[in-house]
Amino acid sequence: MRRGGTALIGAGALYGVILFSHGDLGVDVHWITDYYLQVLMLAGINIIVTIGLNLINGFTGQFSIGQAGFMAIGAYLTAMLAKLVIPLETLPLAYQLSAFLALLLIAGSAAGAVGYLIGLPSLRLKGDYLAIVTLAFGEVVRSVIRSSDETAATLRSWGLSGLAGPIEGIGGPRGFGGFPKFDSLAVGGWTIPILFTLVFVLTAVTVVVARNIVYSSYGRACLSVRGNEIAAEVVGVDSTRVKVLAFALSGFLAGVGGGLFAFVIRFLHPDNFSFLKSIDYLIFLYAGGIASLSGSIISAGSLTVLPEFLRVVGFEQWRLVVYPLLLIGLMLWWPSGLMGNREFPFLAAPEKGLPEVTDVTDHKSQHVL
């Protein structure tokens, strides 16, 4: 509890410092511009999604590369509901916020439900075959969004114009924008940037909840499935349930991240959610180190900021070359990632004596060629 309290104070202090540097606390400083604030929000979103991915790839040992698909579901569903079904602008601010949270929950749950379905094939497919199915799923989601116009036309021809309207509204290959904006809230001499606060709080909540999941008996079951599925079954772990639930949780987090992403960027395009975006999250996860929440936080946070930082320090054009070089260097010098199998004190195991988390992926040779 003491460590938890320290972490809470730390998070509060970080939030205060950012608000102060953004000039929100009445002092006229602008060390953090709106642009930096947006980068910070993206960092928070990436932390949420990376933690979700860590639950599958890191803790449960299933190889999934479809995160962008879940994000796309979350993003488009939130945006569609907030713009076309329940127009958020028409509500008073307090309702706007609670409605937005409810929408995030709905979108996250939808993505989680899809995650559950995607998790089902993992019962049959192993390793890289599972990876490619999740990748394919992500691209199918993108193609479905791309063909929204055709879908809407088909629905119209069936006489379902009520359904066709919102589906046409997401714009397919033209992209989808113009979502309601969350303005800052004025409290006395202070202003509170609402969206930033929301992202910050949700990131913190995700970290806390993920930590509690990881050290619960369910989290231990995940690790046992990763270690050796058959042995886990033998000691009574329902590996089917463990894996499918991990996919559902991960889908939920990616869906919520996607919903936030939609409102931070305020423009969505199917190409934002290509498999390259899923690859970004794999990079965040593995650079941080698998099965380490601290690693996910550090690497998703810093690798989101890094390309923008390189831009600011004069690597305008070279930043996308420098970034992968740094990544390669990182993996060569720390092959198990920055925080592989280690945690910050406030995320550490609640009691001593829990088994060490090690990478036990076996290297059985394929008989091929």
Partner: protein, 309 residues
Amino acid sequence: MSVFVQQLINGLQRGSIYALIALGFTMVYGIIELINFAHGDMFMFGAYVAAFAGGAFLAQGYWAAFFGALLVSMVVTGLLGVLIERVAYRPLRYEPRFSALTTAMGVSLFLENFFALPSQAVPFPLNHVVFGPNYIRFPALLEVRTYSAGGIYFTTLHILDFVLAILLMLLLVYVIHYTLLGKAMRAVAFSKDGAKLMGINVDWTIAATFAIGSGLGAASGLMYGMTYGILASPYFGIFPGLQAFIAAVLGGIGIIPGAVLGGFLMGVSETFATSINSNLGYMISFLILIVVLLVKPAGLLGRLRRDKV
């Protein structure tokens, strides 16, 4: 009927390109079990090298230009593949699998973004190396004739792509099954430690696999350039690379005939689906893949390994 045959021919052409990329993919996977995310960029690099080499050889006549471009791009790209293996993958061979996977993603990002730099942003000797972010035209390396028979049109390129792909595949099969190098490759794929005990130079064999795989990628890059006439930007390898990855998995990753089968299947189905709807053309490979893997979890030609307790 003639539309069907026409689409089939177009599909086989596209399939030959996919099959060759998929072969390189599957060879690397077969030998070190690495999903080589940078393989699509080998294809891209090969296409650019072929464009420049072909342009340079064009003064010597059409066939010299074609074979010159093929040879130069295969060799240069093969060397790049070996270099990448040496720098980014070899040091991580005995580390957890995901670390090599992550460097592969890093290498892929590096190749795309480095070669896409505009040349004025790059200091002197290097500015001749980057390809720049703009479209370039692929020089016509052969005189293209169009033939027609019974309402079906095909060109020299249709024939050439298909024949070249088949020839390279046969060559590969020969190398793998009838040469010492091929025997070493099969041994290393079976067991690295066992191969080492038998006196096989594992490092050298893996490097050779990368060279051959990257060379095949370059050949398909040349075919792509000749067929479509334009290289979009150094990012253009991403999509064919992904399709080839899927083709390799579809056939059973690590299995040579599987990659060929998967590649042709992918090319043909994509061409047919695109003729119905462009979005469907993009989706079809993924849908086929999902269905096939649900029925045969190790790909069309793969056999599932049973875990022993």
